[in-house]
């Protein structure tokens, strides 16, 4: 009994430390962004002429917009592709083919972002450059991000589809629904919450992705006029400028980190909500 109590206390301390990690990170981000949050008026992130930190201009909007554009573009491509892949695995492929394809998607999920970025840099960007210079662009970033979040969407949708009770599908089939009628009318609604949660998590991942985007997006701070224009995302900006940022500039970078973290926190809380109501 005494060993149990001792162990419980040790574990409790460990768990507390683990839980406090989040708080510690948040605290440090806040602490480092404090000069910007108090010293600069926040409206300057919107009203300053441009992003020229060394000239004291901290216009964050183009980067925020680029971040949102790149992520939503990636989702627009990855959601249909991912759903199609999941439907294929669950409802169409032979067990053998399904296993092979699912394995392929899992392997894709295991490829590190730097390799995606490298591939985008050496293969995709030159191709797009042939078509419409400069190659490193919003489009390249969207394509690379698509590849990165696709496995996530596929695998969560797969899990959600598999969790749909067989009886439901058998009943639908007994009613004479075609396979697609069954998928669209029964399986998709039943798996909806799980799929949505997966998509939200993918969005969070895309928003926070740094290296791959940094390598292929061109990193010019601007409002893109076309998908061939280079852009810089918030995360890439941190990676680019963190090394030499000082004083206000450094604080602003921490603010953008904070913005990213809050965005992602909201998204994961939302995903958690959907996850919880999966069977409701």
């Amino acid at each position: 009994m005494q060993t149990d109590r001792l162990l419980a206390w040790i574990l409790r301390i460990g768990a507390t430390v683990a839980a406090l990690m989040m708080l510690l990170i948040l605290m440090f981000l806040l602490f480092e962004s404090w000069p910007a949050l108090t010293g600069l008026s926040l409206i300057r992130f919107v009203t300053d002429a441009a992003w020229h930190p060394l000239e004291g201009a901290y216009h964050l909007m183009p980067m925020l917009l680029a971040t949102l554009l790149a992520s939503s573009g990636a989702l627009m491509l990855a959601v249909p592709l991912g759903l199609a892949s999941a439907v294929f695995i669950v409802f169409f492929a032979s067990p053998r083919l399904a296993a092979v394809y699912k394995r392929l998607i899992e392997l894709l999920a295991g490829i590190p972002s730097v390799v995606f970025g490298f591939w985008g840099l050496t293969t995709l960007a030159p191709l797009i450059n042939e078509w419409h210079p400069p190659g490193a662009s919003l489009l390249t970033a969207v394509l690379v991000l698509t590849l990165m979040v696709l496995p996530m969407i596929t695998l969560t949708a797969y899990t959600a589809f598999v969790a749909v009770p067989d009886a439901l599908l058998r009943n639908a089939a007994a009613l004479g629904l075609s396979r697609w009628g069954m998928i669209a009318g029964v399986a998709l609604p039943a798996a909806r919450n799980g799929i949505v949660a997966g998509i939200i998590l993918a969005a969070a991942r895309a928003l926070g992705e740094t290296m791959a985007v940094l390598m292929v997006a061109g990193n010019v701070v601007q409002y893109p006029e076309s998908i061939f224009d280079p852009v810089r995302t918030l995360a890439a900006n941190i990676a680019l400028e963190m090394a030499y940022a000082m004083d206000d500039h450094r604080a602003v970078l921490f603010v953008s980190g904070l913005v990213l973290m809050v965005l992602v926190m909201v998204l994961s809380a939302l995903a958690g909500l959907f996850e919880r109501h999966r069977h409701a």
Partner: protein, 284 residues
């Protein structure tokens, strides 16, 4: 079916694994403790870094037990890290600015900033106004300056890079006026981008550009206002866009840092400076 064996086996595996890890770490920390290494951390300009790396190797060879680590990130990082105490010596590829009087700078070499294009780009020279027009987006195609009929890809340096600051200063531009297509950090990244894009133009350290082009990298330094971007022109003071390469410390250098800086300023490393296509400071 003999699951119990695997279960017991796992326990044994845990123990072996953990003891192996601990043993490994102990051996590792012991070897390093016995070495009694003295360490210098240098961070900053990517222009200075390759040179300092070479100097550091020679220094380490002469003073065993010393380890010198060099990381890039731009001159501003060098200043920043020195002030924060993260680095012992900062690498800064320009003179100290007003507001940086708290630091101590030691010049080890001179360098220039040259405009570069791909080796297959027919353009060989530009004047000051053409450069300004290209970088501010008034000229967008190469044929306007005697090149191919192709869109110009403008490569600009990221903020915090002294190469950018000098470039802006010389052409009397504001960074906000420049219309870039690609933003690069280190010199090497600029050179790499140029070699991957026939229609790009950028500017980097002359030393770095010469070093790479002599190694067969397909790039060309442009003639600016009739003056060739070359080490010779930097040496004889003809090239307008030149700058000192400095080692910077937070307080007057002492101990190992002092030793290293003295070494880097001595004639023992002139061959290294020449090999990187920079100019030793006392040569002019």
């Amino acid at each position: 079916m003999s699951l119990h064996i695997s279960a017991d086996g796992y326990l044994r595996f845990y123990r072996t694994f953990i003891s192996a890890v601990i043993a490994g770490l102990m051996v590792f920390s012991m070897t390093t403790a016995h070495a009694g290494t003295q360490r210098l951390t240098l961070t900053g300009s990517s222009t200075v870094a390759p040179l300092v790396n070479e100097i550091a190797r020679r220094f380490e060879a002469q003073f065993p037990g010393v380890r010198i680590d060099v990381q890039t990130g731009g001159s501003s990082r060098g200043i920043n890290d020195v002030r924060k105490g993260v680095a012992d010596i900062g690498l800064v590829s320009r003179a100290l600015k007003p507001g940086e009087e708290d630091l101590h700078a030691y010049t080890i070499a001179l360098d220039g900033i040259g405009l570069i294009v791909h080796a297959r780009n027919p353009v060989v020279s530009l004047d000051k106004q053409q450069v300004v027009d290209i970088f501010t987006g008034k000229i967008t195609r190469w044929n306007a300056v005697g090149g191919d009929d192709a869109r110009i890809t403008v490569i600009n340096k990221a903020e915090g890079r002294s190469t950018l600051e000098l470039f802006l200063e010389y052409f009397q531009l504001k960074n906000s006026a420049i219309r870039p297509h690609v933003i690069i950090g280190d010199n090497a990244q600029g050179i790499k981008t140029i070699t991957g894009n026939r229609n790009a133009i950028g500017y980097v350290s002359i030393g770095a550009a010469e070093y790479e082009s002599r190694r067969g990298v397909p790039l060309r330094l442009l003639v600016l206002d009739g003056v060739a971007s070359s080490v010779d022109n930097v040496r004889n003071g003809n090239f307008p866009l030149s700058r000192p390469l400095n080692l910077v410390t937070a307080s007057a250098a002492q101990g190992l840092a002092r030793q290293f800086i003295t070494f880097a300023q001595s004639a023992q490393v002139h061959d290294l400076i020449e090999a990187q296509y920079f100019v030793p400071p006392d040569a002019d």
